[in-house]
C-alpha cells in the first residue's frame, strides 16, 4: 500500500448518515480535512454539531457512510475489520471525557493495559509504563486505584495510557469535560507539552472556547459541516 507522507490524517468527502426511525440524519456532511504530523488540532463547535462523530470516523471507531479516511497512509474505510485493533494499538491513542480507567486496576496497570497483548517483554512493558507515568508526573501515584485519584490525576493516567504505545495520533474527546477549569487547563497544558516534546499529533474535540490558545489549528463545526478552519500559528 502506498504511504501518503505529508499528512497524518486525511478525510476526503466524508459523509456520515444515521437512520432515526424513517428519517435519515446527516451527522457529517462532506468533510474534507488534512491534519499534519505533530499538529495540535482542535475541533470545536456546539453540542450536537458532529464533533464526536468526526472523531469516531477519523479514529477508526466508526465508518463513514461515504468518503475516505486515511490515517498514516492507511485507508481506514477499506481496511479489514480484523486489522483495525492492531492499527489502533500501534498508531492511535485515546483520551476520553470520562477517563475510562478500569476501576480494579492500579494506575500503572491501566497504563500498561494496551501493551499486555503484545509480544513485548515484561521488563520492557514495565519500563515503558513507568516512563509515561513519569512524563505525566504521576510516578508516585502508580499503585493507586482510580477511585483514590482526583479527576485531574485520572485524566493524566488516561493520557499516559494513550501514550504508552508511542502512537502517531492521540484522539481526545472532550478531555476536560469532567474537570473544573483550573484542572482542565492543566490537562490541556500537559497534552500540548507532550505534543511538542514527543511530536505526537493530537486531535482534540471540545466545546470550550478557552482552549483555542493551545491549538495549531482549529476547525469549527456546525450542523455536521466544517464551516471554518483557523490557523493559530503566528
Amino acid at each position: 500500500m502506498q504511504k501518503e507522507k505529508e499528512y497524518i490524517i486525511r478525510a476526503i468527502d466524508v459523509w456520515k448518515e444515521y437512520r432515526r426511525g424513517k428519517e435519515i440524519v446527516e451527522a457529517l456532511k462532506n468533510i474534507n480535512l488534512k491534519i499534519e504530523e505533530g499538529e495540535f488540532f482542535i475541533v470545536m463547535g456546539p453540542s450536537g454539531c458532529g464533533k464526536t462523530t468526526l472523531l469516531n470516523v477519523l479514529s477508526s471507531l466508526d465508518k463513514p457512510t461515504r468518503g475516505k479516511v486515511i490515517l498514516d497512509g492507511l485507508d481506514l474505510t477499506s481496511i479489514d475489520e480484523r486489522i483495525l485493533p492492531q492499527i489502533r494499538r500501534e498508531k492511535i491513542g485515546f483520551v476520553f471525557q470520562e477517563f475510562n480507567l478500569i476501576q480494579n486496576m492500579t494506575a500503572f496497570e491501566n497504563v500498561i493495559a494496551p501493551l499486555l497483548p503484545t509480544d513485548m517483554k515484561k521488563k520492557q512493558i514495565e519500563e515503558r509504563g513507568l516512563d509515561v507515568l513519569r512524563a505525566v508526573g504521576l510516578i508516585e501515584r502508580k499503585d493507586h486505584f482510580p477511585n483514590q485519584l482526583s479527576g485531574g490525576e485520572q485524566q493524566r493516567v488516561a493520557i499516559a495510557r494513550a501514550l504508552v504505545t508511542n502512537p502517531r495520533v492521540v484522539f481526545a474527546d472532550e478531555p476536560t469535560g469532567n474537570l473544573d477549569s483550573k484542572i482542565g487547563n492543566e490537562i490541556m497544558k500537559l497534552m500540548r507539552s507532550l505534543n511538542r516534546e514527543k511530536k505526537i499529533t493530537f486531535v482534540v474535540v471540545t466545546h470550550n472556547e478557552a482552549w483555542k490558545s493551545y491549538a495549531d489549528r482549529i476547525a469549527y463545526m456546525k450542523d455536521g459541516e466544517i464551516i471554518k478552519i483557523e490557523s493559530a500559528k503566528k
Partner: protein, 184 residues
C-alpha cells in the same frame, strides 16, 4: 497470539477478579455450595438408583444457570471496559481470554477453597478427637473419595460453558464506540 501475552492477560484478569470483592465473594459462595452439592450427588453414584440421574441433571442445569448469570453479569457490567480495551487495540480473542479467565478462575478458587476449608475442619477435629473423628456425621459428610472430587470439578467446569459462551457473545457485540458514550 503468543503464549506469553495470553498468560499476561489471564494473570491480569485474575488480579482484577480478586479485587472485585463483592462479586467474587458472592459467586465463590454459590460455586462452593454447588461443588458440595455435586460431590454429594456423585457420592450416591449408582445406576440402580433412578433418583441419581434426576439429581445429576438438576445439579448440572443449576450449575449452567449460575454460570450463565455470572457470565452475563461480568460481561454486562464490563461493557465500557470491554469497549475501552477495544479502543486500546485489544482484539476480540484477547478480550475473550480476559473475561473467560475470570469465570474459570472463580470456579477454580471456589473448588480449591471449599476443599481447603474441609481439610482444615477435619484437621482441627482430628487434633482434638483423634481417630474417633471418622465416626462423626460432619466428617463423613465432608470427606469425598478422590474420583468424586475430580468428576465434580470437571462437571463444574463443563457447567461453565454456557456462561463463557454468553460472555464471549457479548464481547463480540460490544462496539468500541461505546467507550465514548457518556454515562450522565
Amino acid at each position: 497470539m503468543r503464549i506469553m501475552s495470553v498468560i499476561r492477560i489471564l494473570l491480569t484478569s485474575w488480579k482484577v477478579s480478586l479485587r472485585s470483592r463483592r462479586r467474587l465473594i458472592s459467586f465463590v459462595v454459590i460455586y462452593s455450595i454447588l461443588a458440595i452439592w455435586i460431590s454429594v450427588v456423585l457420592r450416591r453414584w449408582a445406576w440402580t438408583n433412578p433418583m441419581f440421574l434426576y439429581d445429576a441433571i438438576f445439579v448440572l442445569i443449576t450449575g449452567a444457570i449460575v454460570a450463565t448469570v455470572y457470565g452475563f453479569i461480568v460481561s454486562h457490567f464490563r461493557q465500557k471496559d470491554i469497549a475501552t480495551l477495544k479502543c486500546l487495540g485489544w482484539n476480540n480473542n484477547e478480550i475473550k481470554w480476559f473475561i473467560a479467565g475470570e469465570l474459570v478462575f472463580v470456579t477454580v478458587i471456589s473448588f480449591i477453597g471449599t476443599l481447603e476449608i474441609f481439610f482444615e475442619i477435619v484437621g482441627v477435629l482430628y487434633y482434638f478427637l483423634g481417630n474417633s473423628v471418622v465416626n462423626l456425621d460432619i466428617v463423613r459428610f465432608i470427606i469425598f473419595p478422590p474420583h468424586v472430587l475430580i468428576v465434580s470439578f470437571i462437571t463444574i467446569l463443563i457447567a461453565q460453558i454456557p456462561g463463557i459462551m454468553i460472555a464471549t457473545w457479548r464481547v463480540l457485540s460490544v462496539r468500541p464506540i461505546v467507550a465514548l458514550r457518556r454515562t450522565i
